[in-house]
């Protein structure tokens, strides 16, 4: 295989290069493909380093519509994804596998907005005559599960909802499309997911930026995630494969320094570039404060990013160091909140049956912020909507919530319960904290419905805050101003433990209950049926 593809890649890259060299970065003609890779590195305030790999493959000329188009002729575009695309007539597909908790306050917005813990999958599919959307959704889930070695098969109707306002379709088309969204917070990401992921890249992990994807290091990062974004554009289909990781050089250096380099972070350097790539760049954001040295030196453009072109600077090991600081001093958090909103989502109460779902949104800016709030809760949790309270520093402010739409979970034909979805638009007043709290109660399940580790509990998926800009909603969040929300934000997941029955002795319970019932039944009928007699006792 290896030699085959390499040879393949070589001859092909030659051609593609010639194309690009002639028409430099003008999108090639119909049914052309181009592949770009990009690594963006952001040193963060708390000494951590956020790295974002983006591998973009553009497939020009729209394939995803007509089902049996020239599938085998892909050269750069991964074949397997192409088939999935066609078979389930996907218009848009987003799959992310993350682990860790994205710290918005210190790290700011992620470069790829979908950072919800666990697996998240949402897709817009055309509603074809051949098969309904839900059949396609099932097929898609299983296909992806097989492709990425993730247990996406369990993203079944118990987790699936269709919040089309939260995840709007990115383009308009004549065919009716349907959205399916599901998330699995307990899913973890590991090497077995990265392996097939890398295999989708034209150069695999042998050349180009993908060289740096060293599982032992990626999965040691404080936060790491894989993402596949597939969307049809007017000109064709765009596939974005992304890897995000937030490293902590301070931890790696034993709590001392925040210097970083490819060698330190990935334990590898880039030896040669991927020839088939049209462009392959490494961008480093320069922190505006602190005296640091960046090597190899590079030109810094106006928005403080240093650029390296892998095509020309092939063996590359970028490193950044702060020679003048002996040990890294952590900045105090209070003055530095990088996002306009700070989110807190917790479960209150200590009882196992009843509690409060509590969300605190702190507006760090000086303008009111209008955000949409979306919960997609599995049926183990019942929201009690009539107990909803919105408070700003202790006083009821019910006018701050609007467009509440709530859909309780319902029993589906296959016996499973669909999740309950709650969606509303919240207005967070300037520089104050909004408390939204609802009472919840936890379901009592049959003992067969509990997972093997029942005493651990269940992970509740993260809630999503999304910018509201649909004119249909009347109001529009102020994205244009800096105070507005730029992108989706995910709250942390929650662990909720349900009251558990006893797993060891179902038989005893059945026996005891039946015994008691028969005892009473028997004695009553005994009384009712037998006749009374008077016997004389001789003494």
């Amino acid at each position: 295989m290896r030699w085959g593809t390499i040879f393949f890649a070589l001859c092909l890259s030659a051609s593609s290069e010639s194309v690009t060299s002639y028409t430099n970065n003008v999108p090639p003609g119909e049914s052309g493909e181009r592949y770009d890779e990009d690594l963006f590195i952001r040193p963060l305030l708390d000494g951590r380093v956020a790295t974002t790999f983006t591998f973009t493959t553009d497939l020009l000329g729209n394939v995803s519509r007509q089902s049996e188009s020239s599938g085998q002729h892909y050269t750069l575009f991964p074949l397997t994804l192409g088939q999935i695309l066609r078979e389930y007539s996907i218009a848009e597909l987003h799959l992310t596998l993350n682990s860790g908790k994205w710290n918005y306050d210190h790290w700011g917005y992620p470069d790829d907005p979908s950072v919800g813990t666990g697996a998240e999958l949402w897709a817009w599919m055309a509603d074809g005559p051949s098969s309904t959307i839900d059949e396609r959704w099932t097929g898609l889930r299983n296909a992806l599960a097989g492709l990425f070695c993730a247990s996406l098969g369990s993203l079944d109707t118990r987790h699936t909802s269709s919040p089309s306002t939260v995840f709007p379709i990115s383009f308009s088309s004549s065919i009716p499309h349907g959205l399916r969204y599901a998330n699995l917070p307990s899913e973890n990401v590991c090497t077995e997911n990265l392996t097939p992921f890398v295999k989708l890249l034209p150069c695999k992990s042998r050349a180009g930026l993908a060289t740096l994807l060293n599982p032992q290091r990626i999965f040691d990062a404080d936060w790491h995630g894989l993402s596949i974004h597939l969307r049809s554009t007017e000109v064709g289909t765009e596939l974005k494969l992304g890897v995000q990781a937030v490293f902590d050089p301070v931890r790696l250096s034993g709590g001392r320094r925040r210097d970083w380099s490819f060698r330190l972070l990935f334990d590898r350097i880039i030896h040669d570039s991927c020839l088939v790539a049209t462009s392959s760049v490494v961008r480093v954001q320069i922190p505006d404060s602190g005296s640091h040295t960046l090597s190899p030196a590079s030109v810094v453009d106006d928005n403080l990013t240093a650029m390296y072109n892998l095509m020309t600077q092939a063996p590359l090991d970028v490193s950044m160091s702060w020679p003048h600081e002996h040990t890294f001093q952590y900045p105090h958090v209070h003055e530095s909140r990088l996002t306009p909103l700070s989110i807190q989502r917790t479960l209150h109460g200590s009882s196992q049956i009843h509690g409060h779902l509590f969300i605190a949104l702190t507006n760090n800016g000086h303008h009111d912020i209008v955000v949409g709030y979306f919960e997609n809760l599995p049926a183990l949790v019942t929201l009690w909507m009539h107990t909803m309270e919105i408070k700003v520093d202790g006083t009821e402010r019910n006018e701050l919530i609007s467009n509440v739409s709530y859909r309780p979970h319902q029993v589906l034909a296959n016996g499973q319960k669909s999740p309950s979805t709650f969606q509303a638009i919240l207005t967070v007043p300037a520089s104050s904290t909004l408390h939204l709290s609802m009472e919840i109660s936890r379901a009592f399940l049959k003992y067969t419905e509990h997972p093997p580790d029942a005493m651990r509990g269940w992970d509740l998926p993260p809630a999503i805050l999304f910018p509201v800009c649909e004119p249909a909603m009347g109001i529009c969040g102020m994205q244009n101003t800096s105070a507005g929300m730029r992108d989706r934000m995910y709250t942390p997941t929650l662990l909720i433990d349900l009251p558990t029955p006893d797993f060891s002795m179902p038989y005893n319970v059945i026996i005891f209950s039946c015994t008691l019932i028969t005892l009473i039944f028997g004695s009553i009928f005994n009384l009712l049926t037998r006749t009374w007699v008077i016997v004389r006792v001789e003494d």
Binding site: S350, S351, Q352, I353, H354, T382, W384, M385, H386, V404, Y406, R407, P408, H409, Q410, V411, K417, S420, S441, F444, L445, K446, Y447, T448, P499, T500, P501, D502, M505, P506, V509, I510, F512, S513, L516, I517, L519, I520, F521, S523, I524, F525, N526, L527, L528, T529, R530, T531, W532, V533, I534, V535, R536, V537, D539
Partner: protein, 406 residues
């Protein structure tokens, strides 16, 4: 207590209690002993919220009440006064039943009968927890009262209403019909074959069907559909979708039941309830009121989604049948069993879900004790109700003979 003012003062106190704000009461609302999914006011309020926000309240499996509750509570929003009033109405009905059983207007025992209902903790606590079982109990008592006073239409309407509110009350259908065509006075001591005319029974039955179907229509109009609310409110007591713990015997049994046996045992448990109707009614054909009393006892022990209000009704009705007291075999034991159960249930419940150091079996054990207590009550009442027919001979031949069953 003999004073005629006793009852009114008691009622007044109960009304006052409705206005007193105690921090404890909020906790009571969610207590599993006092409210079940079918009767919790908390869920009703959620249903109202959904209803007002244009979501079908019967969608999420949250609301299991009758739609009539929805229409009532969405028009008037009664405070806890409503519960106090319905308690008082229930007590009043009980006293009226007592009167019509004794065929007299006033008696010195009224106070006791009323107190037996108003002061019964099993009745008082659920209504403080504003569980709708209070209303159901009151309606049941009204049914019996009207039936005892020989007013068929009100009785049948009340019966239809109570069956509409909670399906398992349909056990009472037969005895109430019998009671309508016979007299409520105590015939326990002197049994006789059923005297009423079957034609009348049939007539009343058909009248009942009319009322009942009208109520169903009203409910369906309210719910904007027939199936969803029936499935949620009546189906709940048949297929037990919600396994919230309660003092009854169903929930843990079906929590631990294997899935493929579940339907079968659901059928068994439901028919088991119905099995008692005929034998009891035949055996006590001479005293339909007593038959109804016994069936209430059955309900108070074996009902799905049992709450303390159900055994409470049975225990309170003991006050109406003083003639059987001498023949109760183990009244004290039953009382002690109930005392134990009522202490153990909340304690073990807390141990399991609040403190997390005991597991579900603790609470299950407590509910078993509850079951035993209920069973003891029924068996004893059943025994005494028949034993009284033989009575005790004169003083002279005490110890000369024994009464046994063969």
């Amino acid at each position: 207590m003999e004073s005629p003012l006793f009852l009114p003062t008691l009622a007044a106190c109960r009304l006052l209690l409705a206005w007193v704000q105690l921090p404890v009461l909020d906790g009571l609302q969610l207590d599993h002993q006092l409210t079940s999914p079918l009767t919790s006011y908390f869920r009703l309020k959620e249903g109202l919220w959904l209803y007002h926000h244009g979501v079908d309240p019967y969608l999420g499996g949250v609301l299991k009440h009758s739609p009539l509750f929805l229409s009532l509570f969405s028009t008037v929003s009664p405070g806890r006064v409503a519960w106090a009033l319905s308690d008082i109405v229930g007590a009043w009905a009980l006293v009226r039943i007592w009167h019509s059983r004794q065929q007299l207007g006033q008696s010195r025992r009224d106070g006791l009968v009323g107190a037996a209902y108003l002061l019964n903790p099993y009745i008082l606590l659920p209504s403080l927890a504003s569980s709708t079982s209070t209303f159901e109990n009151a309606v049941v008592l009204l049914t019996l009262m009207f039936a005892a006073e020989g007013r068929p239409s009100p009785a049948l309407l009340a019966l239809a209403l109570s069956i509409h509110l909670s399906l398992s009350t349909s056990l009472l259908l037969v005895p109430v019909l019998m009671l309508l065509v016979t007299s409520p006075t105590s015939r326990l001591a002197s049994p006789r074959p059923f005297g009423g005319s079957y034609w009348m029974v049939f007539k009343y039955a058909s009248e009942f069907v009319v009322y009942w179907s009208v109520l169903v229509c009203a409910a369906s109009i309210m719910a904007g559909g027939v199936w969803n609310w029936m499935h949620e409110s009546w189906g709940a007591s048949l297929i037990l979708p919600d396994l919230t713990p309660n003092p009854g015997l169903w929930w843990y049994f079906f929590t631990e039941m294997f899935d493929h046996f579940r339907p079968f045992f659901l059928m068994v448990f439901s028919t088991h309830l119905a099995i008692y109707i005929m034998p009891v009614c035949i055996k006590f054909q001479h005293d339909a009121l007593y038959a109804a009393f016994l069936l209430l006892g059955i309900l108070g022990t074996f009902k799905p989604y049992l709450t303390l209000a159900d055994p409470g009704l049975f225990l309170s009705m003991f006050a109406v049948f003083p003639e059987i007291y001498p023949y109760l075999r183990h009244a004290v034991v039953t009382a002690l069993l109930h005392a134990h159960a009522s202490l153990l249930l909340p304690l073990f419940h807390a141990l399991w879900v609040i403190e997390g150091r005991g597991n579900a079996n603790f609470y299950y054990a407590a509910s078993l004790v509850m079951g035993v207590a209920g069973g003891a009550g029924i068996v004893d009442a059943c025994f005494a109700g028949m034993r009284i027919a033989i009575g005790n001979g004169s003083e002279a031949e005490r110890g000369k003979w024994e009464v046994v069953q063969q």
